[in-house]
């Protein structure tokens, strides 16, 4: 007989030994861990829902403005054809959304600010042309660019976020400077307004916040009409980036600010006289400073024009959803029919432009002051990036801008190299 066989509780005796108990405990723990892995709630906050019938899962990224999370809960409570669970997704929204769309779990309706041609072709999104076609004339023309691929519409525009310059009116008046309409004027104004305590201009800590808008402002566009080659390499763009290099050398640009350009804190604290920013920052800025003005991106070079870059969020339906019809119906109900909710969403918390023109025209906040100027920019000068502008096409461009602005590389040479690499990516 072995020593183990004599132990009470050994498997042979039918009673639970310490080893067996530990083993079972291990299995239970591992089972629990695996069960936890199977959950699909990481980073999501289920904020409940409303309605009846089928259950839909709706995704939002985490908006910074107070009250937004409560607002989206309130909207779905009015919907009675389905129960809608709102998921407020914290962290890296784009990565989480891509994973969910790929794996086909947990999302039926979602907002997206970067509709990509690859994902549309792979069926990650549902074609919403039948929903949008009857009403598309009601939408701001610029809002349809990012959702349209080869004539098909893949999303319902929710809000438009123009990006433009903010400036301190009092400083301009004191120096006798008018809001600049050309890039040269802006450089001159920024240089003039630079003091020992305050930089003239903030283009983001990496000096490149406006470089995307500058592509259009310099007379080019990211891609040509046929979408078979890039069209950003223009003499004006090289000239504009060269002028930024000069401002860096001259110490005109703010860098190293604790918060970057998308957050108005640095500008509100008086660290610069002019800043590139987004319309969402307007309420915060107007509550802190009483001399805020706005102007579009000035024209750059001989072929340039004034522009406002239009970011946007769009509602989409997941291609892998098992409730596509219910999801489409809900998306149409909320973002086409519920005009009150659209106005509330755009203007009650932050500041965004409703993409339905009639809704925007009725909004009081867009009828005067900076709100009116931003709305006018959005209507007359708005430009948007094409969905065909994919990551492998954009990387050479962003790398070139980085090399030009951070390493002092020659703008014309870098852009030519980037153009070649981007076109190679389009051809591959």
């Amino acid at each position: 007989m072995t020593r183990n066989a004599a132990l009470p509780g050994s498997p042979r005796t039918g009673r639970l030994s310490r080893r067996s108990a530990l083993g079972l405990g291990g299995v239970a723990l591992a089972g629990g861990a695996l069960a936890a892995c199977g959950g699909n709630t990481g980073g999501l906050t289920d904020t409940g829902g409303g309605g009846g019938g089928e259950t839909l899962s709706q995704w939002y990224h985490q908006y910074g403005e107070d009250g937004t999370q409560e607002a989206v809960k309130k909207y779905v409570e009015g919907y009675d054809k389905a129960t809608v669970n709102v998921n407020w997704v914290t962290g890296d929204y784009a990565a989480r959304l891509s994973t969910a769309l790929l794996s086909g779990g947990g999302v039926d309706v979602f907002e997206n600010n970067g509709i990509a041609v690859d994902q549309a072709q792979q069926g990650r999104y549902v074609d919403l042309t039948d929903v949008m076609e009857p009403v598309k004339d009601q939408f701001n023309e610029a809002s349809l660019g990012p959702v349209t691929i080869d004539g098909k519409i893949w999303g319902i525009p929710m809000i438009l976020d123009p990006q433009h310059f903010y400036y301190r009116k009092s400083l301009f008046e004191k120096a006798g400077i008018e809001p600049p309409e050309t890039w040269d004027d802006l450089v001159a104004a920024a240089t003039e307004l630079t003091t020992s305590d305050q930089k003239g201009l903030f283009l983001g800590n990496n000096f490149d916040a406006n470089s995307w808008a500058m592509v259009w402002a310099a007379g080019g566009s990211p891609m040509n009409e046929a979408k078979d080659a890039v069209a950003y390499n223009t003499p004006g763009y090289a000239e504009g980036l060269g002028a930024v290099q000069t401002m860096i050398e001259d110490g005109v640009l703010l860098t190293g600010a604790p918060s970057d350009w998308a957050d108005p804190a640095a500008f509100a604290a008086g660290l610069s006289a002019i800043t590139w920013g987004g319309c969402w920052a307007l309420p915060a800025l107007e509550s802190q400073l009483d001399d805020i003005g706005v102007f579009p991106h000035p024209a750059v070079g001989a072929e340039g024009r004034q522009v406002a870059f239009m970011g946007s969020w769009n509602e989409q339906v997941a291609g892998n959803s098992e409730k596509i019809d219910a999801a489409k119906e809900f998306a149409k109900w909320l973002w086409i029919d519920q005009t009150e909710s659209q106005t509330d969403w755009a203007l009650s918390y932050g500041f965004h432009i409703p993409p339905i023109t009639a809704v925007a025209e009725q909004a009081e906040a867009l009828k005067e002051g900076n709100g009116l100027e931003i709305a006018t920019m959005a209507k007359d000068m708005g430009v948007t990036g094409p969905p065909e502008w994919t990551g492998d096409i954009s990387t050479p461009h962003s790398d070139a801008v980085s090399n030009i602005l951070k390493n002092g590389a020659d703008p014309a040479e870098e852009l030519a190299k980037a153009e070649e690499a981007s076109n190679r990516a389009i051809g591959s």
Partner: protein
């Protein structure tokens, strides 16, 4: 057959079993414990590895179930991808900074802490504490507080006190961003490697130091450190070097959080992350890049192991470094210190260190530190 014959017949069978004694019932427990981890390993490591390898041979944009086989095209792409090659250069520059600096700092700290007569545990904990901090949190502190570009930034304040100009481009210009990137990683990991060195230091037999002292080295002197401590820490140093290189290869968090997608400070992992999990979602290229990177890491690790001799015996290492040793080693029996060269250029042999230590009382000789003990490795054996 008698009982004694049975015993004799059974004996050789039992003797043939040379493994550990098998305990009844342990088989079930083994599988109960092992199966969950085996399943985890298969599901979360082995399967993704095989899947990644398969994806690397396909065009897999936005899908993990690709259909278009493209052979080695994804791999070929990396050979001419200037951005990827640049990311490798970035890694090399980073490793050239971070590896020696961390090694020297952690070894220095370990020696200092080891030499403390009191509060050793306190300082050990203090230096180890940053290891518990997340990279993301440390990066936020570094960016917002220590290295922000305003006059009020902590480092800029220090520069001001020292009468130097403040720097606004900590994260937007070279070489400033390297200071930020290297210092944050140094702060986070130096404590961990200090502990490894400390363990190595405490494993050195004190007799070696005593013997060296008898041979004429001053306790705590640099030559004692160079001739006893360093050689005795060879295995620890090799392990630390390997770990540091791997950690540098895997650097992601601080680059991602501090300098974003800047091509100058974009190590391979950030670049591959952008390809596979950024807007491109090119899992095929991402997987191919990950395999290329793994191959580089394996080769670098093997090369380093082979050169430094992590886990190998001294003789084999001696063989690899024979040419170096021959360059620097003096003939057997010759003194290890520079010989006194006479006017005619002939070397006059000095007495061996053993002779010296016998002849001169250690405590009475102010130049005792200048002598060499007998080979510490010999003493260790």
């Amino acid at each position: 057959m008698s009982a004694s014959t049975e015993v004799r017949a059974a004996a050789p069978t039992r003797a043939a079993r040379t493994g550990p004694t098998r305990i009844k019932g342990s088989g079930l427990a083994f599988w109960l414990f092992f199966t969950p981890f085996l399943v985890g390993l298969l599901v979360f490591t082995i399967l993704p590895l095989i899947w990644g390898g398969t994806l690397s041979l396909f065009e897999a944009r936005g899908t993990v179930l690709p259909t278009k086989f493209i052979g080695l095209d994804n791999f070929r792409g990396f050979l001419v991808d200037t951005a990827f090659l640049q990311s490798l250069r970035t890694f090399i520059v980073f490793a050239l900074f971070i590896v020696p600096v961390t090694m020297a700092s952690s070894l220095g700290l370990a020696v200092l802490v080891n030499g403390l007569p009191r509060f050793q545990m306190f300082f050990r904990s203090v230096f180890f504490l940053p290891t518990a901090c997340s990279y993301v949190v440390a990066c936020v502190v570094w960016r917002l507080s220590l290295f922000n570009g305003l006059e009020s930034g902590v480092v800029n304040q220090v520069l001001g006190v020292l009468g130097m100009d403040s720097v606004s481009a900590w994260l937007s210009a070279s070489p400033y961003w390297w200071i930020v990137l290297v210092s944050v990683r140094l702060w986070l990991q130096v404590g961990f490697y200090m502990l490894l060195f400390l363990a190595g230091l405490q494993a050195i037999p004190t007799q070696l130091y005593e013997a060296a002292a008898v041979d004429g080295l001053s306790p705590g002197g640099f030559r004692m450190f160079r001739l006893i401590t360093l050689p005795q820490l060879r295995t620890t140093s090799a392990a630390v070097l390997l770990l540091l290189l791997i950690a540098a290869f895997q650097a992601f968090d601080e680059f991602y959080n501090l300098t974003g997608n800047n091509p100058e400070t974009r190590p391979p992992l950030v670049y591959l992350y952008n390809i596979a999990l950024g807007p491109q979602q090119d899992f095929g290229r991402g997987s191919a890049g990950a395999l290329v990177l793994t191959a580089i890491m394996v080769i670098a690790g093997l090369l380093q192991t082979w050169l430094v001799g992590f886990g190998s015996d001294d003789d084999r290492r001696g063989g690899r470094f024979g040419f170096l040793r021959r360059l620097f080693r003096r003939p057997a029996g010759a003194p290890q210190e520079p010989a006194v060269v006479g006017a005619a250029g002939a070397a006059t042999t000095a007495p061996s260190t053993a002779d010296l230590s016998a002849a001169v009382p250690v405590s009475a000789d102010p130049s005792a530190d200048e002598r060499t003990p007998s080979d510490p490795q010999e003493g260790a054996r």
